[in-house]
Symmetry: C2
Subunit: 146 residues, 2 copies
Amino acid sequence: MSTRSATPPDTASRVWIALHEFVTGQDRRRALHAALDLGPAKVELLIKLADGPMTLREIARAVEVDPPAATVGVDKLEARGLVHRTPHPDDNRRKLVHLTDAGRDAAQRGQAILSEPPPALTNLDSDDLARLDEILTRLQTKRRPI
Amino acid sequence: MSTRSATPPDTASRVWIALHEFVTGQDRRRALHAALDLGPAKVELLIKLADGPMTLREIARAVEVDPPAATVGVDKLEARGLVHRTPHPDDNRRKLVHLTDAGRDAAQRGQAILSEPPPALTNLDSDDLARLDEILTRLQTKRRPI
DNA sequence: TATTGTTATACTCTATAACTATA
DNA sequence: TATAGTTATAGAGTATAACAATA
């Protein structure tokens, strides 16, 4: 807790606002829509499914949506041939959602679009970039787990 | 165009992904909804209106929606007493949307929520924070204007 | 004739509640 | 009875097209 009173916007706030503006100013939604005809939530789900199949329940938690929304979303992806459902081997109530080959391809293209660094970043001096890399590593270790 | 083949994710990509995950992992939507009962787009609009009144057309461009969506969104904010419309002094086709006192208050509270730096950032060493601050300043100057 | 704002309409996304089937 | 998934339904948000008023 700060003991200094009336500190004007401090460094942490200024840095946070700049970070936030830089990242949110990089809007990839149009590019994703043009390339995949999918919204950000569906691309996010495809990318997560690239790590392995998930149950509907796990999907709902992962994408922060209610179970019915997960069902509907997976229905849409299934109708487009990007995922398919199989029974869960251990529990007949559950279903596993897998990527199809087309889904894996879409996930890969989506990730390529999302991970392409913006020009301002690639134009940074390599010293700045290296320092930024180090600081971000330390930042991640200080992150409280979700 | 890269002439090195099969370069594994380079520094810029790694930094970009880390930045993106850090910022988007900080989701303020629930806090905004709890405090203001407004979605992110409406809060964004209120904050922009804090700089002065805008026409519906300007609002549509600023929030990246179509003019009809701007009309409907402003209707909702007006019904809640957060904004009001006045005729434009120079052109009777246009209307100016202003914040009411309640709207100004909501904008201020929304901005406070959005600009609160996450704990991981405030817990950084002051050296790292200062360096990050400098680098972000240089990053902004390299940003191509929108 | 072009522009500003609006209305009508439809589609997507997601939430709540009720239902089915398995455990 | 508890859980996984689904269906039905409703609400928010935004898009397209058609319209009114003004320039």
